[in-house]
């Protein structure tokens, strides 16, 4: 930890998903923007409790899929009907039927890349370092505990007031995490 440690955010611990969810609703209603709930598994209903919008990952998949299909069809037409036509078995040089299976596979391949990499891009991952990873109790976020972290950079962040909010929402072990 460096000499000039700047505060990153306020962390509060919760024992059950219900507690974390009710607390998240309180934080959401206070209009915070830069905050998050940390849990060992995706808690159903938490998106609503946090006021999150529908994920954007679908668009990456959609674009990947469309690219894949177009690429497949154009590639097969270009290779087998245009650049070097090979007559085989009395079949047309290009047919959407026989070109369908490989194009379909490319649709799925690029769609799947879109889903995984889209998720990573939207989540700003991979990330090799994070202030929370230094916090001793935070390791439990992958075990059986739930945490709410409100960043100091949030415009609504007001030191003691925010701490009181987390306390009243039922948070335990409220601490300031340093950058």
């Amino acid at each position: 930890m460096s000499e000039t440690a700047t505060p990153y955010g306020l962390i509060a611990e919760f024992a059950t998903p219900a507690d974390a969810m009710h607390a998240a609703e309180k934080v959401r209603d206070q209009g915070f923007k830069r905050w998050d709930v940390y849990s060992p598994y995706p808690v159903h209903g938490m998106d609503k409790a946090m006021g999150l919008k529908n994920s954007k990952v679908g668009w990456f998949t959609f674009c990947g899929g469309v690219t894949g299909y177009t690429l497949g069809m154009v590639m097969i037409w270009w290779m087998n009907a245009h650049d070097y036509a090979i007559p085989v078995g009395g079949k047309p040089m290009f047919s959407p039927f026989s070109a369908f299976p490989p194009s379909y596979e490319l649709t799925i391949l690029l769609g799947a890349f879109g889903a995984l990499f889209g998720m990573l891009i939207v989540n700003r991952l991979p990330r090799l370092h994070h202030p929370l990873l230094k916090h001793a109790r935070f390791k439990l976020a992958s075990h059986d505990r739930f945490f709410i972290v409100i960043e100091c950079a949030d415009p609504s962040y007001r030191g003691d007031e925010t701490r009181a909010l987390l306390e009243s929402a039922g948070g335990h072990n409220i601490e300031l995490v340093e950058e």
């Binding site: 219900a18 159903h44 998106d47 609503k48 529908n54 009395g90 079949k91 039927f97 026989s98």
Partner: protein, 425 residues
Amino acid sequence: MSAPKQPSQTPTLDLSRWRNVPNLMMGIGGAGALLGLIVNPTQFAHSWLLGFMFCLSLVMGALFLVIVHHLFDAGWSVPIRRFCEHIANLVFPWMVAFFVPIALFAPKLYSWMDIKDRAGHPALEAKYPLFTMGGFYLVSALCFAVWWWLAKGLRDASLEQDRTGAAECTHRMRRYAGGGIVLFAFTLTLAVILWMKGMMYEWFSTMYGVYYFAGSVWMTLGTVYLITMVLKRNGTLAAVLHEHQFYFIGSLMFAFTVFYAYIHFSQYFIIWNANVPEETFWYVLREQGTWWYVGMIIIFGHFFLPFLALLRIDLKLTFWWMTPICVWTWLMHYFDLSFNIMPTLHPDGFPLFWIWLDLACLALMVGLLTRAFLANFARHAPFPVKDPRLCEAMGLIAPCASPISGGEMDETDELADALPQTGAK
């Protein structure tokens, strides 16, 4: 899931204005069918077969949904099971009665019945004794008997559970479903081969039974969605329906949209690519004249359009969006059946002129079936009132001490935090 809520305070749907529609359909349809029978009996037979296969799709689709409900030990589909049981039970006496004209006009429909010298037709001779008059009627009767037995057995046990709430009824329905699915698969395949594929007895495809099944269940799901929606909005099932029924039926529709396309593409593609004349003639005929456009309608209307329309999660719960899609499944299934049945009679193209007769036969049958269905539906509880999985269907945690954590309820964000304590024992 970011689904918009259905406003629960929408005004209750008043259906009394529509009460006479089935009678009207029967009247107009009956008159039209009679006229068709007089002016062109052959066309009448084909139109009647089309209408019959359409209604059979619905009845068999409903039977299938009831059977898989038990096979999967599903929870969510309990509220919609009762009306599916009623639809499945229309097989007797109604579908049997509708089969009578087909039985009578069979020689007009099935060219093989006219062939006296079987030895000159090896493709027909091979099918002895299935493709003989005796074989045809015997197998048809056998199929109806199996379906009736299954549909009746499943509904009887279900109604008995309404009274007793006994677990034994659930077990009995499961036994019916277990044996039933095997019988269902074989009888439906046989029936479709005999009644539809047999119109061109020279042609063969191992996929054909699955193909009819896929289209039938797809259309049935559209119909089930509509019925569920109506029963929610007029208040009959409002107390037990949850958002997830609509979501799941919509998802199944989507799945069957893809499944049908997969099956039909596979059948077409394998025949197209192998290019064996014994098989290709069936599709060659269906690319003549306006049949080619019907084929295009099936590709785009039976697959692409519903595929795109059903892709989004939230739209599966939006009634104004789903209603036209459900009605669209009827239209597409009609075209699909026409594509299978009519080219033998009209090889030059889709018989646009005779559409009125198709519709008249269909209207007569659907009108009758609707009346019979409504009468049955009114006689019994609208949903299985003592089914042990009913609370799951309503999206509630089972009101018993042992915590459940099965794959039963997923939409937990819609659950009440706990059951209301009032009336708790």
